[in-house]
Subunit: 114 residues, 2 copies
Protein backbone atom coordinates (compact mmCIF):
# COMPACT_ATOMS: atom_id res chain seq x y z
CA UNK A 1 0.00 0.00 0.00
CA UNK A 2 1.26 3.44 -0.91
CA UNK A 3 1.42 6.03 1.82
CA UNK A 4 1.17 9.75 1.48
CA UNK A 5 4.07 12.08 2.20
CA UNK A 6 3.53 13.33 5.79
CA UNK A 7 4.02 16.93 4.59
CA UNK A 8 0.97 16.56 2.33
CA UNK A 9 -0.95 14.53 4.88
CA UNK A 10 -0.56 17.39 7.35
CA UNK A 11 -2.24 19.80 4.95
CA UNK A 12 -5.47 17.79 4.73
CA UNK A 13 -8.32 18.91 6.95
CA UNK A 14 -9.51 15.37 7.60
CA UNK A 15 -7.39 12.57 6.09
CA UNK A 16 -10.09 10.03 6.90
CA UNK A 17 -12.66 11.60 4.58
CA UNK A 18 -12.97 11.39 0.83
CA UNK A 19 -11.80 14.65 -0.72
CA UNK A 20 -13.61 16.09 -3.75
CA UNK A 21 -11.07 16.52 -6.53
CA UNK A 22 -11.61 18.93 -9.39
CA UNK A 23 -9.96 17.82 -12.62
CA UNK A 24 -9.02 20.59 -15.04
CA UNK A 25 -7.43 20.29 -18.47
CA UNK A 26 -3.97 21.83 -18.19
CA UNK A 27 -4.13 23.43 -21.64
CA UNK A 28 -7.75 24.42 -22.31
CA UNK A 29 -8.51 25.00 -18.60
CA UNK A 30 -11.84 23.25 -19.20
CA UNK A 31 -13.25 21.41 -16.19
CA UNK A 32 -13.20 17.73 -17.08
CA UNK A 33 -14.78 16.02 -14.07
CA UNK A 34 -15.13 15.87 -10.33
CA UNK A 35 -13.81 12.76 -8.62
CA UNK A 36 -12.83 11.76 -5.07
CA UNK A 37 -9.41 11.19 -3.53
CA UNK A 38 -8.38 9.46 -0.36
CA UNK A 39 -4.89 9.35 1.08
CA UNK A 40 -4.02 6.14 -0.77
CA UNK A 41 -5.25 7.28 -4.19
CA UNK A 42 -3.47 10.60 -3.70
CA UNK A 43 -0.25 8.82 -2.78
CA UNK A 44 -0.53 6.69 -5.91
CA UNK A 45 -1.18 9.78 -8.03
CA UNK A 46 1.92 11.50 -6.66
CA UNK A 47 4.06 8.38 -7.14
CA UNK A 48 2.90 7.48 -10.63
CA UNK A 49 1.89 10.83 -12.10
CA UNK A 50 -1.30 9.16 -13.34
CA UNK A 51 -4.55 10.42 -11.85
CA UNK A 52 -5.90 7.82 -9.44
CA UNK A 53 -9.12 8.24 -7.47
CA UNK A 54 -11.33 6.42 -5.04
CA UNK A 55 -14.41 5.09 -6.81
CA UNK A 56 -17.43 5.57 -4.54
CA UNK A 57 -19.61 3.32 -6.69
CA UNK A 58 -17.13 0.43 -6.81
CA UNK A 59 -15.60 1.20 -3.41
CA UNK A 60 -12.08 0.67 -4.70
CA UNK A 61 -9.07 2.46 -6.13
CA UNK A 62 -9.65 3.71 -9.64
CA UNK A 63 -6.74 4.40 -11.97
CA UNK A 64 -8.43 6.71 -14.45
CA UNK A 65 -8.17 5.22 -17.92
CA UNK A 66 -7.01 1.76 -16.77
CA UNK A 67 -9.82 0.22 -18.83
CA UNK A 68 -10.59 2.90 -21.42
CA UNK A 69 -7.04 4.09 -22.06
CA UNK A 70 -8.24 7.62 -21.26
CA UNK A 71 -5.51 8.29 -18.73
CA UNK A 72 -4.75 11.62 -17.12
CA UNK A 73 -1.15 12.73 -16.64
CA UNK A 74 -1.15 15.04 -13.64
CA UNK A 75 0.78 18.26 -14.16
CA UNK A 76 0.05 19.94 -10.83
CA UNK A 77 -1.86 19.34 -7.62
CA UNK A 78 -3.22 22.12 -5.40
CA UNK A 79 -5.12 22.08 -2.14
CA UNK A 80 -7.63 24.71 -1.23
CA UNK A 81 -7.25 27.10 1.69
CA UNK A 82 -8.80 24.81 4.27
CA UNK A 83 -7.45 21.52 2.94
CA UNK A 84 -10.74 19.88 2.07
CA UNK A 85 -10.72 20.08 -1.73
CA UNK A 86 -8.09 19.24 -4.33
CA UNK A 87 -7.39 20.49 -7.85
CA UNK A 88 -5.58 18.34 -10.40
CA UNK A 89 -4.41 19.94 -13.63
CA UNK A 90 -3.97 17.16 -16.16
CA UNK A 91 -3.09 16.29 -19.72
CA UNK A 92 -6.05 14.16 -20.79
CA UNK A 93 -5.59 11.30 -23.24
CA UNK A 94 -8.82 10.87 -25.20
CA UNK A 95 -11.91 12.12 -23.39
CA UNK A 96 -12.68 12.41 -19.70
CA UNK A 97 -16.34 11.36 -19.72
CA UNK A 98 -17.58 7.78 -20.03
CA UNK A 99 -20.30 9.09 -22.38
CA UNK A 100 -17.67 9.97 -24.97
CA UNK A 101 -17.95 13.71 -24.35
CA UNK A 102 -14.78 15.70 -23.71
CA UNK A 103 -15.98 16.72 -20.26
CA UNK A 104 -18.48 15.33 -17.76
CA UNK A 105 -19.94 18.85 -17.52
CA UNK A 106 -21.65 18.80 -20.90
CA UNK A 107 -25.12 19.63 -19.63
CA UNK A 108 -25.40 23.42 -19.30
CA UNK A 109 -28.76 24.42 -17.90
CA UNK A 110 -30.10 26.85 -20.48
CA UNK A 111 -30.91 29.46 -17.88
CA UNK A 112 -31.63 33.12 -18.35
CA UNK A 113 -29.39 34.40 -15.58
CA UNK A 114 -29.53 38.03 -14.61
CA UNK B 1 -38.52 29.28 0.74
CA UNK B 2 -37.40 29.10 -2.87
CA UNK B 3 -38.02 25.90 -4.73
CA UNK B 4 -36.07 24.49 -7.60
CA UNK B 5 -37.49 24.17 -11.09
CA UNK B 6 -38.70 20.53 -11.37
CA UNK B 7 -36.82 20.18 -14.66
CA UNK B 8 -33.55 20.86 -12.84
CA UNK B 9 -34.58 18.86 -9.80
CA UNK B 10 -35.10 15.84 -12.04
CA UNK B 11 -31.49 16.03 -13.24
CA UNK B 12 -30.02 15.69 -9.76
CA UNK B 13 -28.86 12.24 -8.74
CA UNK B 14 -29.94 12.72 -5.12
CA UNK B 15 -31.70 16.00 -4.31
CA UNK B 16 -31.38 15.28 -0.58
CA UNK B 17 -27.59 15.40 -0.60
CA UNK B 18 -25.26 18.36 -0.66
CA UNK B 19 -23.77 18.69 -4.13
CA UNK B 20 -20.15 19.75 -4.57
CA UNK B 21 -20.08 22.87 -6.71
CA UNK B 22 -17.00 23.92 -8.65
CA UNK B 23 -16.70 27.67 -9.08
CA UNK B 24 -14.75 28.83 -12.14
CA UNK B 25 -13.97 32.38 -13.22
CA UNK B 26 -15.86 32.97 -16.46
CA UNK B 27 -13.04 35.00 -18.01
CA UNK B 28 -9.74 33.60 -16.76
CA UNK B 29 -11.15 30.05 -16.36
CA UNK B 30 -9.24 29.86 -13.07
CA UNK B 31 -10.82 27.62 -10.43
CA UNK B 32 -11.88 29.91 -7.60
CA UNK B 33 -13.30 27.58 -4.97
CA UNK B 34 -15.31 24.47 -4.22
CA UNK B 35 -18.56 24.98 -2.32
CA UNK B 36 -21.73 22.97 -1.71
CA UNK B 37 -25.23 23.42 -3.09
CA UNK B 38 -28.54 22.05 -1.96
CA UNK B 39 -31.85 22.43 -3.76
CA UNK B 40 -32.73 25.64 -1.91
CA UNK B 41 -29.38 27.37 -2.48
CA UNK B 42 -29.47 26.32 -6.12
CA UNK B 43 -32.99 27.71 -6.50
CA UNK B 44 -31.87 31.00 -4.96
CA UNK B 45 -28.86 31.11 -7.30
CA UNK B 46 -31.07 30.60 -10.34
CA UNK B 47 -33.58 33.22 -9.16
CA UNK B 48 -31.11 35.90 -8.14
CA UNK B 49 -28.13 35.23 -10.42
CA UNK B 50 -25.93 35.57 -7.32
CA UNK B 51 -24.03 32.47 -6.26
CA UNK B 52 -25.60 31.07 -3.12
CA UNK B 53 -24.38 27.96 -1.34
CA UNK B 54 -25.04 25.85 1.71
CA UNK B 55 -22.44 26.52 4.38
CA UNK B 56 -21.51 23.23 6.02
CA UNK B 57 -19.68 24.97 8.87
CA UNK B 58 -22.55 27.34 9.72
CA UNK B 59 -25.28 24.93 8.57
CA UNK B 60 -27.17 27.67 6.78
CA UNK B 61 -27.64 29.34 3.42
CA UNK B 62 -24.64 31.39 2.36
CA UNK B 63 -24.99 34.20 -0.16
CA UNK B 64 -21.39 34.49 -1.29
CA UNK B 65 -20.17 38.03 -0.64
CA UNK B 66 -23.11 39.04 1.57
CA UNK B 67 -20.63 40.14 4.24
CA UNK B 68 -17.44 40.76 2.27
CA UNK B 69 -18.99 42.26 -0.87
CA UNK B 70 -17.14 39.64 -2.89
CA UNK B 71 -20.22 38.48 -4.75
CA UNK B 72 -20.28 36.10 -7.69
CA UNK B 73 -22.56 36.77 -10.66
CA UNK B 74 -23.35 33.41 -12.16
CA UNK B 75 -23.00 33.27 -15.94
CA UNK B 76 -23.75 29.58 -16.46
CA UNK B 77 -24.58 26.46 -14.50
CA UNK B 78 -23.78 22.93 -15.69
CA UNK B 79 -24.41 19.54 -14.17
CA UNK B 80 -22.09 16.62 -14.70
CA UNK B 81 -23.05 13.44 -16.52
CA UNK B 82 -24.46 11.67 -13.48
CA UNK B 83 -26.02 14.70 -11.78
CA UNK B 84 -23.94 14.71 -8.63
CA UNK B 85 -21.63 17.66 -9.24
CA UNK B 86 -22.26 21.23 -10.40
CA UNK B 87 -20.14 23.79 -12.21
CA UNK B 88 -20.81 27.52 -11.84
CA UNK B 89 -19.02 29.92 -14.17
CA UNK B 90 -19.01 33.32 -12.48
CA UNK B 91 -17.91 36.91 -12.70
CA UNK B 92 -16.15 37.43 -9.37
CA UNK B 93 -16.24 40.79 -7.62
CA UNK B 94 -13.04 41.17 -5.58
CA UNK B 95 -11.45 37.90 -4.58
CA UNK B 96 -12.96 34.47 -3.95
CA UNK B 97 -10.88 33.40 -0.95
CA UNK B 98 -11.35 34.62 2.61
CA UNK B 99 -7.54 34.80 2.90
CA UNK B 100 -7.45 37.62 0.35
CA UNK B 101 -6.03 35.42 -2.40
CA UNK B 102 -7.76 35.40 -5.79
CA UNK B 103 -8.53 31.71 -5.52
CA UNK B 104 -8.86 29.24 -2.66
CA UNK B 105 -6.51 26.93 -4.59
CA UNK B 106 -3.36 28.94 -3.91
CA UNK B 107 -1.34 26.10 -2.41
CA UNK B 108 0.25 24.12 -5.23
CA UNK B 109 2.16 21.15 -3.91
CA UNK B 110 5.64 21.62 -5.37
CA UNK B 111 5.77 18.09 -6.69
CA UNK B 112 8.08 16.61 -9.25
CA UNK B 113 5.45 14.81 -11.28
CA UNK B 114 6.52 12.43 -14.01
Amino acid sequence: MSTLDPAILGMLKDPDLLIPTIVQDNTSLQILMLAYSNTESLALTVESGNATYWSRSRNQLWVKGATSGHVQSVRSISLDCDGDAILFRVDQTGVACHTGETTCFHKPLGLELL
